[in-house]
């Protein structure tokens, strides 16, 4: 893998030994998958969208970096 950049490599890869992200997957209604990283009690950040519908990639709610909140639903 060739990293072609003006930033010195030690700056770019700094911390790569301790960075171990924990991902979880969320299946979407229309068949795709959302890769999430938990970042709080009730919220997770989108890391990656996997979907065969290209239109999904234009949806800002599913873009990498957006926060998804979930709450426990009380079924009476």
């Amino acid at each position: 893998m060739i990293l072609y950049t003006i930033v010195p490599l030690e700056t770019v890869l700094d911390g790569s030994d301790n960075y171990v992200p924990l991902y979880s997957e969320l299946p979407l209604k229309n068949g795709g998958t959302l890769l999430l990283e938990q970042c709080g009690q009730n919220s997770a950040r989108v890391v990656r969208l996997i979907s065969s519908n290209p239109g999904d990639y234009l949806d800002p709610k599913l873009a990498p970096g957006s926060i998804i909140e979930f709450r426990a639903e009380n079924r009476a």
Partner: protein, 251 residues
């Protein structure tokens, strides 16, 4: 008994109302707080659907390896399906590519560049801030490219890290990889191969590297970028190109 039933229904109704309230965007205050944390402003300007889409290429173009979180990255696995969506969606008539990148993975960068190049709709790119290293092929891949006066583009040889075996084949491999980039750039701009190589191997410009830094107008004079300009000019050029395609009513 009836009172107990009424109480249960009341609770269920309240739960339903709360769910509905949350689905409708919840408390307005929460959204504002979220926006301030993530974007630094309280409300994000809303815009009616536009026929021109824009994709920003920022930071490092991330390839097959996830970079540590201090890096701002462009995730090519998201950009490429977006380009597919732009190609397929009949409502989108043109694409604006905004670059401020320090380079990144060669293959991911070339992948994005080739996708932009083979898009059938008009594309215009603007280089703001920086369009270094692998940002150069991405910038020239569009139908027309702009660079702002203060933006810079660094032309330098690709570098190999990790275990390097000291045999001539290593240099040949590097040369082959380098050739991919040089061939793409010279095929999509007005610069010649010799001129581009001369810039790449210049030894008296950069302090810790070999190469050349082109600022704004330099990039245009050398034939790499079409024109010096910014956002306004780019949008106007894109609308012009869309208009020439024979369509009316664009915005």
């Amino acid at each position: 008994m009836a009172a107990a039933r009424r109480q249960r229904q009341g609770t269920a109704r309240k739960a339903r109302q709360y769910r509905q309230h949350k689905e409708n965007g919840g408390n307005g205050r929460e959204n504002v707080l979220q926006n301030i944390q993530q974007l630094g402003q309280a409300t994000v300007p809303q815009q009616p659907e536009s026929s021109i889409h824009s994709i920003t290429i920022i930071g490092q173009i991330e390839g097959h390896l996830t970079l540590p979180p201090q890096n701002k990255t462009t995730k090519y696995e998201h950009v490429i399906p977006q380009l597919v969506a732009v190609e397929q969606n009949p409502k989108i008539r043109g694409l604006l590519i905004i670059l401020n990148t320090v380079g990144g993975d060669v293959e991911a960068g070339l992948a994005i560049a080739e996708m932009i190049d083979t898009l059938s709709k008009p594309t215009v790119s603007i280089v703001l801030g920086g369009g270094h290293s692998i940002g150069v092929p991405v910038a020239v891949a569009s139908d027309y490219s702009f660079i702002t006066e203060t933006a810079t583009m660094t032309i330098h040889p690709i570098r190999l890290s990790g275990l390097v075996i000291g045999v001539p084949q290593t240099y040949e491999y590097l040369d082959k990889m380098q050739d991919r980039v040089i061939r793409f750039v010279t095929a999509h701009s007005h610069i010649t191969t010799d001129e581009f190589r001369r810039l790449m191997f210049c030894t008296n410009q950069l302090a810790r590297d070999i190469g050349t830094v082109l600022v704004g107008q330099d990039a245009v004079e050398i034939g790499l970028i079409n024109e010096v300009g910014g956002l306004g000019q780019a949008i106007r050029k894109l609308q012009e190109m869309i208009g020439e395609g024979g369509e009316s009513d664009l915005h």
